[in-house]
């Protein structure tokens, strides 16, 4: 897997941190994040993002193998499922907190399993981290759905804490088999 071009790679600094301890740190970060989501502690989850955050989930199209570059329309070119800056995400959270966000009243039961972490460092305080996830959602009486996908995060260290500056969620689905996407990944 390559997250960077050769050119970018040249500027990558890798010496500043012990790769194993960085991997441990970030793994812990993602495990904690998953528990925050599944325990519905959305404010604390939201606090993991930077001020200039972007939360992006593109469409995923059926295209021939040789046109693979068209499979996932890049940010700023298409109508994605999520393209939230901090304000738009704040709207979502206030909605959930209102007691009248009916899609989540009663709330979904989710289970996020996040793994397969790989990291490429960009600078001392910025890394790109990629994870795979499976998310099970159950709601009301018998509704259930399974989401699988990847997340590519630009993480930034602010006040010695890692924060998510840019998240791209790519689902392994074309037509989404869920009534609505009122949960987070």
């Amino acid at each position: 897997m390559t997250l960077f071009s050769e050119e970018q790679r040249e500027s990558v600094q890798t010496a500043f941190l012990d790769p194993q301890s960085l991997w441990n740190d970030l793994n812990h970060f993602y495990i904690r994040e998953a528990w925050l989501l599944d325990d519905r502690r959305f404010r604390e989850w939201f606090a993991l993002f930077t001020e200039d955050m972007m939360y992006f989930m593109p469409r995923r199209k059926n295209v021939p193998v040789r046109e693979a570059h068209r499979e996932i329309p890049p940010i700023g070119t298409d109508l994605p499922y999520y393209e939230d800056d901090r304000k738009l995400m704040e709207v979502r959270l206030q909605r959930l907190e209102s007691g009248m966000g009916w899609a989540e009243e009663p709330p979904s039961r989710t289970r996020h399993l996040v793994g397969n972490l790989v990291i490429e460092t960009v600078g001392e305080d910025e890394v790109v981290a990629k994870t795979g996830f499976i998310c099970y959602r159950s709601q009301l009486e018998v509704d259930q759905s399974i989401y699988a996908g990847s997340r590519t995060d630009v993480l930034r260290r602010e006040d010695s804490e890692w924060r998510i500056a840019h998240r791209t969620i790519v689902l392994d689905a074309n037509v989404i088999l869920d009534k609505n996407i009122s949960i987070f990944f």
Binding site: M57, R59, K61, N62, V63, P64, E67, R70, G76, D78, L79, P80, Y81, Y82, E83, D84, D85, K87, L88, E90, V91, R92, Q94, R95, L96, S98, G99, M100, G101, W102, A103, E104, L140, N174, V175, I176, L177, D178, K179, N180, I181, S182
Partner: protein, 427 residues
Amino acid sequence: MTITTTSTKKYKILDPETGALDPRIYSDETIYREEMEKVFGRSWLLIGHESLVPNPGDFFHTYMGEEPVILTRDRQGGLNAMLNVCRHRGARLTRTDDGNCASFMCVYHGWTYGLDGALEYVPGEEQAYDNKLDKTKLGLRRARVETYAGLIFATWAPDAPSLEDFLGDARWYLDTEYKRRPAGFIAYGPQKWIQPVNWKTSVDNCSDWYHVPTTHSSASNALARVMGATRYTHEWNWTVPAKHAFVNGHQIAVFETTGHEAPAEEVERLGEFRANNVAASASSIFPNTVLGMRLAIPRGPLQTEFWHFALVPADATEEEKRVLRMEHASQNGAAGTFEADDIDNWRQVSNSGATFIGAQQEQLLNMGLGNAGPHDVYPGMVTDRFVSEHNQRAFYLRYQEFMNAGSWADISLEPQTAVYEGTTAEM
């Protein structure tokens, strides 16, 4: 080979005097099967937008009801809608969502069709078929295609009226949105997802502003607080200067922008009155389109695949387009804060007649009975009350008319009386 209508059953779905609606129209399997023929087999159906297939060779895979359809732009620049079913054994000719190509090769045995659906090549025409295959008679099944302001419609029915007559004077209103600016719109998307609802619920809901202060209070309040957006309260509903208009089963929310001074170019395009005073908003086009723009694609009585596009003015700056798309994704579509709260309502409405006792309880669409009629200025049937169930009644009566018709000869079209001022008067 012709499969003809099997049922001449006459439905009484809605009582126009009382507004009582038979809830079995959502969940009954037999009714659903009949809809596929009598509504989706007959009506003009929105299948895409010109911006999805701008260049020769472009194609976009779409649906007309349940039928898979390839929409193409051919070498002459013409639009074609063809059933995506091979004339040999019925495999699909393309399995991708969109693209650009010179022809469609069936990956089962290799029959190859042109951009207009003509059968161009068959492997072993001589060796396997002894040159006895009449390729000219084996093109893909084509639908009629017509466009309005970049929106592409198709119908299977040879006896359907023109799209112009089908839309009727709904066009007088739609022009104020879709023809206001010369550059037109670009369609982004679609998002695609499947809801456990009957397709009709989401269309009739399009003009139901009564539900907004309750269903969408959380999204509306949060948007008002965070973004300074309008708060959709009951009070707003009762006092907003707006009407609803109904033509041929289509519905248009009409905001009266009295006092607005449109740019000279818009006045030239729409005439003074429409440019300054009329702004069409959320509209539904019979049977399964909500502008703009989304399709409710039937997938069984209690399943609907939604295709949600964002229509964005083509002459907006890149930054404006981006903001519009972000707001779109945030509020509507699969992850939309408004949309998410609709779905369980629609599902429960859809299911309400599926049980023995439930089927005995009619739904009540009597709000604002008697409040719609002809208007001096506005074409079609018009209701001054922004909140009413006239649209639901108009929609289900139109649906009933389609379900009870033997052919298009039995389906009425309202007389076109509107005067189309401005340079965009032509369809």
